[in-house]
Assembly symmetry: C2
Homo-oligomer: 291 residues x 2
């Protein structure tokens, strides 16, 4: 255990402060943005939409998760908008989880990590395929890290659910690797700075097993809303010994179902986003009953 707070400790505090383990994904897609904003051009729409969404959900959820791909689609100009989005999110008090799914050999991973930290991201998502040395540089750069374990896409089974000779699935092997690595990065909250991405669209007994393998990990849970997962699906992921909401070890993300809550063209889209975020946040308060 380290005595310095990691961004995961800050996330736990923010969850307790706001009272819900909810995260809103900032995934701007031009065609889905309200028509009134689209008149100004594609890049302007992406920027204006993202910044307004942040304003409308400030104080409603403790964290936001910008999807790097939505910005990188537009090259360096899009990347500059991502920087503005992260900057504004931090100003508004959000914990920022940059969804970038990066990883590379150690020296390159360090470049990625420094880039993300300099942009102001608190946490980042990474891929575990290259092993521990591709993940550690992100932790050393002071970031909270969520490594892919069980992803929410429909065909993730094809690779992730293959059974190893030593017993258990590839996902469980990743879980064991993350738990072992993460033990060196446990902060004052008792939570590791190294967490895992665990999709809510998968079977409950499988998810419960992942919690047993990774007792000190925070799970970033995508797949709620548009991807079909429900709040009840999350219960098996909760840490049974938690004594506060920030300790339950899950941060649940919804993207499209919140930010595109209103059919396009309607002038009241921002209040619809606010309402959808409130409902999502409130629904997740129900997870308190599981501890």
């Amino acid at each position: 255990m380290t005595t310095t707070e990691s961004p995961i400790d800050l996330l736990a505090q923010a969850i307790d402060r706001v009272g819900t383990p909810a995260c809103v994904g900032i995934d701007p897609v031009f065609e889905k943005i309200p028509r009134s904003l689209r008149l100004d051009g594609e890049l302007e729409a992406i920027e204006s939409f993202s910044l307004r969404v942040l304003d409308s959900i400030a104080g409603v959820v403790p964290a936001v998760k910008p999807q790097s791909a939505c910005f990188e689609r537009y090259g360096s100009a899009g990347y500059a908008i991502l920087e503005k989005v992260i900057d504004k999110a931090r100003q508004l008090g959000f914990i920022v989880i940059l969804d970038a799914k990066r990883a590379d050999i150690g020296s390159s991973a360090e470049h990625y990590a420094i880039g993300a930290a300099n942009m102001g991201a608190n946490c980042i998502t990474v891929s575990p395929y290259m092993g521990p040395s591709s993940i550690e540089p992100f932790l050393r750069a002071g970031l909270g890290v969520f490594a892919l374990a069980r992803t929410s896409n429909p065909d993730s089974d094809e690779f992730q659910l293959q059974t190893l000779q030593s017993g258990g699935s590839i996902v469980q092997a990743v879980g064991s690797m993350l738990a072992k690595m993460g033990d060196e990065w446990i902060g004052p909250s008792g939570l590791s700075a190294l967490g895992a991405v665990v999709g809510a669209t998968k079977a409950g007994d499988e998810l419960g097993e992942l919690r047993r393998v990774m007792p000190n990990q925070v799970f970033l849970v995508p797949g709620i809303g548009a991807q079909g997962g429900t709040i009840a699906d999350i219960a098996p992921l909760v840490r049974a010994d938690a004594d506060a909401l920030g300790q339950i070890g899950v941060i649940v993300n919804a993207s499209r179902s919140v930010i595109f809550a209103k059919p396009e063209g309607d002038g009241s889209w921002l209040s619809a986003v606010h309402t959808a975020a409130m409902e999502f946040a409130n629904e997740l308060r129900g997870l308190r009953a599981t501890i």
Copy 2:
């Protein structure tokens, strides 16, 4: 088999034209850049160094591989330099392999793919962890794709060499997945638009098995030079039935041993880069003897 040429077909043609399956990695790191360039400031040095390296190796090797991390370290300003590097590389006739190791659920993967294609990249590296739906959007965007199979970092064994109950390692399972997917993307050259990253730092019998699993895949082979791999290590990866250099199914990358060939501070660093690239290219011509 498709009748339209993929970037992998273009790569095969470029290898035959230049006469060597060599690729130079563009991995600019400020501290390693010659002192004379560092006087202008960090971003200026990264840009100037990268563009000059491209000039000095034009016509010597058929392909270059910019490491996205080295540019993303500097946020949107670095990303803008990456765009200039890719643009100049294409102007100089290189096949450009963007080393980005991206992947995400389908809709996000599509954003990444469009971004890379719009920047002018011919090919991109991706991670296979999320399964086929996270890779296909890159192929559909018209990119050549190299998915991580066996990576060159020292601790890649920890995850990649675990044995599956069905027999074979995780790497071989990825290989089978790529071979199956890739069969739908075989171009006029007989090579699939979906290739694999296979590090040269690993054991020969393991590499030979990967060639058997993936007969139509081009292997992007890192790990030569600074990472310790040698040309002889590559022989097991060559396609036995190739009748031309462009058909041997390997493109071998060296980064640091070429671009940082000269100790810093020496005025003749550019000719050292040129010479190192020439030597590397010539050494790889020896692979012709294996077919």
